[in-house]
């Protein structure tokens, strides 16, 4: 099925960018977990295995036409919901939230996969339901349900970061397919009205985390401390950085979760403004490449799909980086390809596979 024309259209720049970011991520995970003991296997090695697995999955995805995925979007989406329900009952609980499914010796976070499930399901819906005059509220009932189920299940875990991401991905796709101005206004007012209700459902520690962003003195010992230490780490990197393995903040473990959500503070501290700039450039390149693929896609399905994946990569990067540098509240979102985490790595590579898939088939006629 992979004929010569497909290989000719293979997006080498995209692959190179992604591989580069991943390798950079492994280097930083190595640095941030150097002094950590108690893991059977060093975490950077585990991350390498995950990345290789993700890359394999990406090639597998290339093998099929992306329209096949769109065709099976709903069953896949239901499968994701099923996994999320499974987590509710059998999930492993760590520090108060139930997010992990234990499959033998590996653990798996279905909420990550749900992002891809959501993107595929929305693509399927909006491909079939083309409305050139802009969508009204009535047209959005089904997509709203498609968003509502995973958001509810993830909110129950609770995983506020993923809830925020799912909603941002959803909003980006809506923005792309085009809503009537009136619909936007209604949605905006609706969200504003709903926010206080949602606030009631937040756990106390989540509320504290959000409020601490506005006023770090509220929780000076945990989130507040976190924000301050993260800022010190980033700022102390100055222009050239302290050098690989030389970050005092990270090596002395001032920062909790420095190999997962706060990996960028290690990058900024050890590689300085230069390194951060370079990393941000790569991420920007990745996201704009995704947008370009959406733009050049020959069909609506490809365009929506590529927009969805790009939106996922963009919002995840922005929320995470913003969190580390202290301009976004700490909600707990991993930095794609850099933060340590198996499911996140695999999900991102799946997204990349989908982007490449669309890019490769942009000149092909439909069967």
């Amino acid at each position: 099925m992979l004929d010569r024309r497909l290989l000719m259209n293979f997006d080498w720049t995209l692959l190179a960018t992604v591989v580069f970011i991943s390798v950079f991520g492994v280097i930083n995970i190595y640095s941030s977990t150097l002094l950590q003991t108690g893991h059977l296997k060093p975490l950077y090695l585990k991350q390498i295995y995950w990345l290789i697995l993700g890359m394999g999955l990406m090639f597998l995805i290339l093998y099929f036409d992306y329209r096949t995925f769109v065709r099976y979007a709903y069953p896949f989406f239901l499968f994701c919901l099923f996994l999320l329900i499974l987590v509710m009952f059998f999930g492993r609980t760590t520090s108060g939230s139930q997010r992990w499914l234990q499959l033998g010796f590996i653990s798996f976070q279905p909420s990550e996969l749900a992002k891809i499930g959501l993107i595929l399901a929305l693509t399927r819906f909006f491909t079939e339901d083309d409305n050139p005059h802009g969508y009204g509220l009535k047209n959005l009932l089904v997509p709203f349900l498609i968003l509502g189920f995973p958001v509810f299940l993830v909110f129950k875990q609770p995983d506020l970061g993923t809830v925020v991401l799912l909603i941002l991905i959803y909003a980006s796709i809506l923005a792309f397919i085009g809503l009537r101005l009136r619909t936007w206004i209604t949605l905006g007012v609706g969200c504003a009205a709903l926010a206080p209700v949602l606030w009631l459902f937040l756990k106390d520690y989540q509320k504290t985390r959000l409020l601490t962003f506005l006023n770090p003195d509220l929780d000076p010992l945990k989130t507040g401390y976190h924000i301050i230490q993260s800022k010190i780490a980033v700022g102390s990197g100055t222009f050239f950085g302290k050098g690989f393995l030389k970050g005092t903040q990270s090596q002395l473990h001032f920062l909790p979760e420095q190999h997962t959500d706060f990996i960028f503070s290690v990058v900024a501290e050890e590689w300085g403004f230069m390194g951060s700039f370079f990393l941000l450039f790569l991420l920007l390149l990745l996201i704009s490449r995704g947008l370009k693929i959406a733009q050049t896609s020959k069909d609506r399905a490809g365009a929506i799909l590529a927009i969805g994946v790009s939106a996922m990569l963009f919002w995840q990067s922005f929320v995470n980086l913003g969190m580390v540098v202290g301009i976004v509240p700490v909600v707990g979102v991993p930095l794609p390809l850099l933060s340590y985490g198996g499911t996140s790595a695999i999900t991102t590579w799946m997204g990349i596979g989908i982007l490449m898939n669309i890019s490769m088939r942009r000149f092909m006629l439909s069967r």
């Binding site: 520090s95 491909t127 010190i232 002395l252 996201i287 733009q295 020959k298 922005f318």
Partner: protein
């Protein structure tokens, strides 16, 4: 399902792409601007901060809630104590510090050295505990030599104080360091390694009420580790206070009466199920656990073959022995097998099948009616009754009195006891019920098992006219400023389906056990306080004809005494079990009497006219005993 493909609309540049690019550029510019601000403009400031990261976190522990008795007397409280800790990062010259510090806190320098080495690799923002609960002298030493001890800090912590030591230790429980499993649970989300949480008893079951919320302080220190300024402060919230149903004076009397014995005592208010006193021996001192129990002490407690951590009142299961005759008697009267006047002849043994079932009194009781049989605890009378009733009809009334299942005691880990039935035996052993077993069951031997608490709650129901209450230990949870947060009113369970006439006969007989000549419980008699009760002597080893008395201590019988007073309008139920104590009347009744006396004397003090109910002594002993 067909997908609409080949739409060209996507290939032309939609304004959406322009907007998307703008959003992305703006977002990344924000991050860049922020990075520029942090790394370039304020970079030197942060670099300086990071090179000698001067931010320290000091925890301010929340005082745990106070536990009060029913009169509002504190049983458990907390008081401040002082810990010495060290920030190794702030020590310029560790080899010089160690001898100075070891002198100041009277700690062996080698041990100190080992402690510091063991802590390497931990977060430097968190202090390393050097010594907990230092003496006032050490505190003064450290404070006066502050300048010679860079990096050393003194923290005030709150220490749990069990003022009455072993008193009600099994009810109150103890604290222990939080386990990794507990750390994963949501209720402990604010806890960290090293925190102490309730591990047993009320301390464990009411952990969330008692724990409060720790506060803390984020401070900036100078190069010598001295506090420069406080960056953030979070006041702790003290835990909530508990009010128990326990009566300190009565509990003291119970502990005193049980001292040196092995067993349990339960004192209950029969009118509502309140536990007034509960003692289990041997016991332990919860103070030993308050700041982490030493391995030696832990070994001493867990290695003790008498398991001092077990609450024998709720977890010890013993054959109820003759105390169970109350159940058999109720069953006999209610099932109309006998009337109170029905008599049986007791020659000292009851031949059945191919063996003789003995009465405890070898020479026999002669011809006795029900009252006499209870008063003198005649076994043969109840063999006759048991044979006529059968196990299942006895079980019906035993279940009715709440035996054979947990009473619903709020602190958990309660044992259910056992009320045998023929169906149970078939299921358990696949052997049909034997007629001879009816005899053993009727006198509370055989398969029967009860906890002292079950007996107390069943007897209370008999005493109060048939209301079975769930035992209550905690009355209410109150906030530190006094507002009532939770209340646990008495819970009335089942009403016994037993006629008032039957209960009347039983109560009369139980009064006779203590107050009538020849009664087995005479040693619990208190003039003016009409005590009614039943003795029990549970065989640990089956005594058969021809086998001599066994004299090893572990072969001695368990002694029971279960009583309430006054016989009419009872105010208190007391159940005593002494493991291997011998005869119930001799070993357990005097123990119960001490607690009853305490109650009675106090009651007399409180009310100028003593609580005396006229009660006509009965003497219905038939001739020829």
């Amino acid at each position: 399902m067909r997908l609409k493909l080949d739409k060209n609309s996507a290939s032309e540049t939609k304004p959406a792409f322009v907007y998307a690019n703008i959003v992305i550029i703006v977002a990344f510019s924000l991050i860049f601007a922020r990075l520029w601000h942090l790394q370039i403009i304020k970079g030197d400031y942060f670099k300086d901060l990071s090179e000698n990261n001067r931010i320290r976190i000091q925890e301010i522990a929340a005082p745990r809630g106070i536990i009060y008795d029913r009169e509002g007397i504190p049983l458990v409280d907390s008081f401040p104590s002082f810990d010495v800790s060290l920030f190794p990062q702030d020590v310029p010259d560790m080899p010089a510090l160690i001898p100075a510090l070891s002198r100041a806190v009277s700690l062996n320098p080698e041990r100190l050295q080992a402690k510091i080495e063991a802590a390497q690799g931990f977060s430097p923002a968190r202090p390393l505990k050097i010594k907990t609960d230092i003496t006032r002298e050490d505190l003064a030493m450290v404070e006066t030599r502050r300048l010679d001890l860079p990096g050393v800090m003194v923290d005030m912590v709150i220490r749990r104080n069990y003022s009455y030591e072993n008193l009600a230790a099994h009810l109150i429980g103890y604290l222990g360091e939080i386990s990794p499993e507990e750390l994963e649970q949501e209720e402990f989300i604010n806890h960290k390694i090293g925190h102490f949480v309730g591990k047993y008893g009320i301390e464990q079951n009411f952990e969330t009420d008692l724990m409060g919320e720790n506060g803390g302080r984020q401070i900036e220190v100078n190069a010598l580790g001295r506090k420069m300024r406080v960056l953030g402060n979070l006041e702790p919230n003290p835990g909530n206070n508990l009010f128990l149903t326990l009566d300190l004076e009565l509990q003291k009397a119970a502990e005193g009466a049980m001292a040196g014995k092995k067993g349990a005592l339960v004192a209950m208010d029969p009118q509502n199920g309140d536990i007034l006193a509960m003692a289990s021996k041997p016991d332990f001192d919860p103070n030993l656990f308050a700041r982490g129990i030493s391995p030696e002490n832990w070994k001493k407690i867990t290695g003790n073959p008498s398991s001092p951590l077990q609450n024998r009142a709720t977890q010890g299961q013993y054959p109820p022995a003759s105390v169970y005759k109350i159940v058999t008697a109720i069953a006999g009267l209610e099932e109309k097998i006998i009337t109170p006047e029905t008599t049986f002849h007791c020659p000292g043994a009851f031949p059945f099948g191919n063996r003789d079932y003995l009465c405890w009194k070898k020479e026999g009781h002669g011809r006795v009616n029900l009252r006499r049989a209870i008063i003198e605890s005649c076994d043969v009378y109840f063999y006759n009754l048991g044979l006529r009733l059968g196990v299942d009809r006895i079980a019906k009334y035993a279940f009715g009195l709440g035996l054979g299942k947990a009473t619903g005691f709020p602190l958990g880990h309660e044992k259910p006891g056992l009320v045998p039935t023929s169906a149970w035996k078939m299921k358990r052993f696949r052997i049909p019920w034997q007629a001879g077993e009816n005899l053993s069951v009727a006198i509370g031997q055989g398969f029967n098992l009860t906890t002292p608490l079950q007996v107390a709650s069943a007897l209370s129901a008999v005493a109060n006219g048939g209301r079975l209450y769930r035992p209550r230990v905690v009355q209410s949870v109150k906030a530190p400023h006094g507002e009532t947060l939770k209340e646990f009113p008495p819970v009335e369970g089942k009403i016994l389906h037993v006629s008032p006439e039957t209960l009347e006969v039983i109560r009369e007989s139980l009064w006779g056990v203590v107050n009538s000549p020849g009664g087995t419980g005479g040693r619990a008699r208190i003039d003016g306080f009409n005590v009614a009760g039943k003795t029990g002597t549970a065989q640990v080893v089956q005594r058969r004809e021809g086998r001599g008395e066994l004299n090893l201590p572990e072969h001695q019988d368990h002694a029971w005494f279960a009583c309430f007073a006054p016989a009419y309008h009872p105010r208190i139920t007391v159940v005593v079990l002494i493991e291997h104590g011998g005869h119930g009347g001799a070993a357990a009744a005097p123990v119960a009497k001490k607690v009853l006396e305490k109650y009675y004397l106090r009651q007399k003090d409180k009310h100028p006219s003593p609580l005396q109910v006229a009660f006509k002594p009965i003497d219905d002993r038939p001739e020829g005993r």
